[in-house]
């Protein structure tokens, strides 16, 4: 993957992730983690090579098919990206509303997800009335509204204290156990070492390590 300014963001990266896996994506800033994620959600198209996600060939995908792909992928970010003027309920329902889901589905699905992430009692709170962990739980609930095959978490614990970070990891494990593939980009050495899951390590746009049940190994 080469940017128009000539910078090579990813080169010779060959990765296959099976459905139901829990995979960590690690590497220093500028290693290519964000580009890797943007390729998966087709925010960018590779300049060479191919990307297949949930049975879709992203290189040949037409623009009109991209929304369908993104409903198969849930994504959460370090900065939560919640809408500040909407309540927890509305933030989650928003993802259904903007994809044309009937109100009956919204009324059924939103409480299910708020129960799953443990926010049923906070449904009518605004994001500013929530802790960081609760905001991230809201973002996870929103990412799951379409029952995606894959959940991508880009530094989901980056803004959280250690205790809250572990709560979020427990939630991601729970989601993974329900059958959703989880790919989590992180700098959190403690979590990676404790979890002993597959680790993909990127450096300078190259895949330098791909190990199952691995540790973080080095300081980034």
């Amino acid at each position: 993957m080469t940017y128009p300014n000539g910078k090579v963001a990813l080169a010779d990266v060959n990765v296959s992730i099976q459905g139901g896996d829990f995979v960590f994506l690690v590497g220093p800033s500028g290693a290519g983690k964000s580009t890797f994620i943007r390729l998966l959600i087709r925010e960018q198209v590779p300049t060479a090579g191919n990307v297949r996600v949930a049975g879709h060939d992203l290189l040949r995908m037409r623009r009109g098919q991209v929304p369908g792909l993104r409903r198969r992928i849930g994504i959460v970010f370090q900065d939560f990206r919640l809408l500040p003027n909407k309540t927890v309920w509305e933030n989650v329902a928003f993802a259904l509303d903007v994809t044309g889901s009937p109100r009956a589905i919204v009324r059924q699905r939103v409480p299910q997800l708020l129960n799953l992430v443990g926010l049923h009692d906070h449904a009518h709170h605004l994001p500013t009335q929530l802790s960081g962990g609760e905001q991230q739980r809201t973002a996870i609930a929103r990412a799951l509204v379409h029952d995606p095959a894959i959940l991508i978490a880009d530094e989901p614990t980056g803004n959280l204290d250690p205790v809250t970070s572990w709560e979020i990891i427990q939630l991601l494990i729970q989601i993974n156990e329900l059958g959703t593939t989880v790919l989590m980009a992180t700098h959190n050495q403690e979590i990676v070492n404790a979890m002993r899951r597959r680790v993909l390590a990127l450096e300078g746009g190259q895949l330098v390590r791909d190990e199952a049940a691995a540790a973080y190994e080095r300081e980034y």
Binding site: P67, G68, R70, V98, T99, P102, H146
Partner: protein
């Protein structure tokens, strides 16, 4: 049902967006009103002048004032000869007495009495010639000018040409003015919607990431632009309806001719104003949203 949900979603979001960005939306709407008021004024004036033009066309196109002393037989002969000229629709003989009565009548219409100061006024007998084709005026007038039985030939051609010239000038200046105001309106709507789009960039990004289609992202903004055009058009239609009755006699006074515009034209004008308002709103917002969305995948 999905389409109904889509329409409902888009309308609600457009309405919320209009009021969230109220100052810019109202400014854009005000420029739409300005443009549509100018357009209405231009169309009303041009339509009025066109009806004045038709009135002139329908009036006597050529008047031949006759020499004194022509016998009835000579007048009848001349009348038949003129009727045979191509382009002539009809010929009417007006005696000096009838011409005098008309003069007195026209004075009375202005609230005055004809006062000759005791002198006797002798008016010419004349032939009033109506034409099938206003352009035949030159031919008919040329035929009669050299006829010894005719004292003088008067035509409405100069008056007609002057009015036509005025209408063309008003139409050209008006269309250029409206074109310039139209561009300003388009620019205002493009900017209003662009500001709305940028102020909701986070929301749009989330929509894209959770799998909203381009239509769900684009149409609320397009409808927001259409809303500016719709409100502008409705306000203008109310304004035009309010001033409709007072401006009719005012136009007759200004242009000194029957320039009345039929009430049916108000309906046509309203439909046109709605179409232009909605069209400009849709075009402006479409340009704005298209450039933003095509930049984002």
């Amino acid at each position: 049902m999905p389409f109904v949900r889509f329409i409902g979603f888009s309308i609600i979001r457009a309405w919320q967006g209009f009021w969230r960005n109220a100052m810019m939306s109202l400014a854009a709407t005000a420029t739409v009103i300005l443009m549509l008021v100018l357009l209405s004024a231009l169309l009303i004036v041009i339509t009025g002048l066109n009806s004045g033009l038709e009135f002139i066309e329908s009036k006597v196109a050529v008047t031949a004032q006759l020499e004194d002393g022509l016998t009835d037989a000579a007048v009848a002969t001349l009348t038949r000869e003129v009727e045979a000229v191509p382009g002539v629709a009809s010929v009417e003989y007006v005696s000096p007495a009838a011409a005098m009565r008309r003069l007195e009548e026209s004075y009375r219409e202005t609230g005055q009495e004809l006062d000759t100061g005791g002198a006797t006024i002798r008016l010419f007998a004349s032939l009033e010639i109506s034409l099938d084709d206003p352009d035949a005026s030159g031919t008919v007038s040329a035929e009669l000018t050299d006829d010894p039985r005719v004292e003088r030939v008067l035509t409405k051609q100069a008056e007609y040409d002057t009015l036509l010239g005025i209408i063309n000038v008003i139409r050209t200046v008006g269309l250029v003015g409206i074109g310039l105001v139209g561009l300003t309106v388009l620019f205002m709507i493009i900017n209003t919607i662009r500001i709305a789009v940028y102020s909701r960039a986070n929301e749009i990004e989330i929509m894209r990431l959770v799998g909203a289609s381009d239509s769900f992202i684009r149409w609320p903004f397009i409808l927001e632009g259409i809303l500016c055009g719709l409100v502008g058009a409705l306000v203008t239609i109310v304004l035009v309806a309010v001033v409709w009755d007072p401006i009719q006699p005012a136009m007759v006074t200004i242009f000194q001719m029957p320039t009345a515009v039929s009430a049916r034209f108000l309906t046509t004008l309203s439909v046109l104003l709605l179409a232009v308002g909605l069209g400009v709103g849709a075009l402006g917002s479409w340009i704005s949203v298209r450039s933003y969305l095509s930049a984002a995948r």
